[in-house]
Symmetry: C2
Subunit: 305 residues, 2 copies
Amino acid sequence: MAAALPGPRLRPHVKAHKSTALARRQAEAGHRSFTCATVREVEGMAAAGLGQDLLLANETLETERLAAVQGAEVTLAVDSEATVEAAAAGGIRRVVIDVNVGMPRCGCPPEDAGRLAEVARTRGLEVRGVMGYEGHVVGLPDRGARTAMVEDSMKALLRAHDAVGGDLISAGGTGTFDINTWATEIQAGSYVLMDNAYAELDLPFRRALQILATVISAWPSHAVLNCGLKALGMDHGNPTMEDGHQVWFVSDEHITFSPATPVKVGDRLRVLPGHVDPTVAYHERMFVVDGETVVDEWPVDLRGW
Amino acid sequence: MAAALPGPRLRPHVKAHKSTALARRQAEAGHRSFTCATVREVEGMAAAGLGQDLLLANETLETERLAAVQGAEVTLAVDSEATVEAAAAGGIRRVVIDVNVGMPRCGCPPEDAGRLAEVARTRGLEVRGVMGYEGHVVGLPDRGARTAMVEDSMKALLRAHDAVGGDLISAGGTGTFDINTWATEIQAGSYVLMDNAYAELDLPFRRALQILATVISAWPSHAVLNCGLKALGMDHGNPTMEDGHQVWFVSDEHITFSPATPVKVGDRLRVLPGHVDPTVAYHERMFVVDGETVVDEWPVDLRGW
């Protein structure tokens, strides 16, 4: 990734991995500005000495708590007079105007961005630019459609930027990291661990995140792993398994599967999650392995809110 | 619940709430034997002084760790020679034979239970009886079908019990708490907090678990809450909202919804999760509220494995 988007061209999103240990690796690769989704993530990144340039790419009313973070330069997304007012009242100094570029979530209409920037400046806030996440585009399997829709979204964001000013045009995700050439920086997060959903696209990143589970029950018809709903984000559906084993269903602490080849109690098998972010958020730590050897352990220390 | 299933007739399953504070309330209501799904839950319950009679109703090979738990009387489910051997080798003293009563997950065939009990006794283990969770039945909406299928399942479990012996016939869940009259004890967990899935059934329990989220972005077409995939078990689908607000979709840290009545930034709204167990497992604590007043705070202290 650092070759495609060197240094500040990538603003890695820590929400995907929630680990300052992994964020430090990203910083060592040259990316020292980060994207966060929660105040807790900002606090944790600052405490880890990774707070050089943190963008909370999300609206929050907990602005006093955010402004109290020590040892970090924090920029906050705002998309309304209410969130601008909360930022100013809480003691936040820098904001970006969050623009709706096609996905119905946070973000003001592009045509309202300039006015909102003026409101922010009137309230004494530095407006660093705009952000606009094309979340409705990043997962499209067809690259042609993805490219066309990114262009539409970014044209809207550039219109907003014309009215807002500032250095930052922050957008993009793993699915558009090499397509979105309009943004000054890309907020990709999933690329670093990947998941089954993004693996469906034509991306050069491999699935690094796996759950090593143990067979605890094995029968002629099926077998059971000790890994379940409390270890897996399930919004993208069931996880998959390697070696042709077929997942039947997932319970709180179990995966029932149809073995492609015989398995026995005690076997350790790898489970590939559908969606990285809500999967990692269930776990206290990740183990870094080289083959069968654990070479490092990364606490998932940015969980919670 | 204590009126329907007094004292040891209910063995509350702590996996639903993962909170020793709430388990203590259940103990105060007379239920002092508990069901656990993980070794961590057993450890935490023992450390909290609630280890009088803990059933780990799940197979595990981490038997040395389980046997090392201090201050608890632990019984472990076994369903194979391999898990019996692991129990004996690890220093476990008491087991139940886990029987497959119709759901393809853990559990030996009913006709194999007697032989397995003999293997366990030969290895020096006390066999307290049988367990067999009718997980394929507990969620059936039609009470007649549920009743008929519980009977089938429990007849299989009673056959197994005839061959195994022991005092315990442990089974059941929230959906069958008043239907399963064959088991000596019911392992219900969800009843105490409930969720949208169980609320579809004809049960006398109310949904106590809600997520209080804040509107952070509001537009004519939609609004956004600061609660998302990392706060909600999603295997039963989207959560719902009160007051007619319609959930559109859920992102990592957001719910986008269609307001039934106008909402504004800062409004706090209640979100009702689809599935209690994987929802609670995301949270560090639960707040107990009486109207708008927080009257207690319960750490979710049994998370992880």
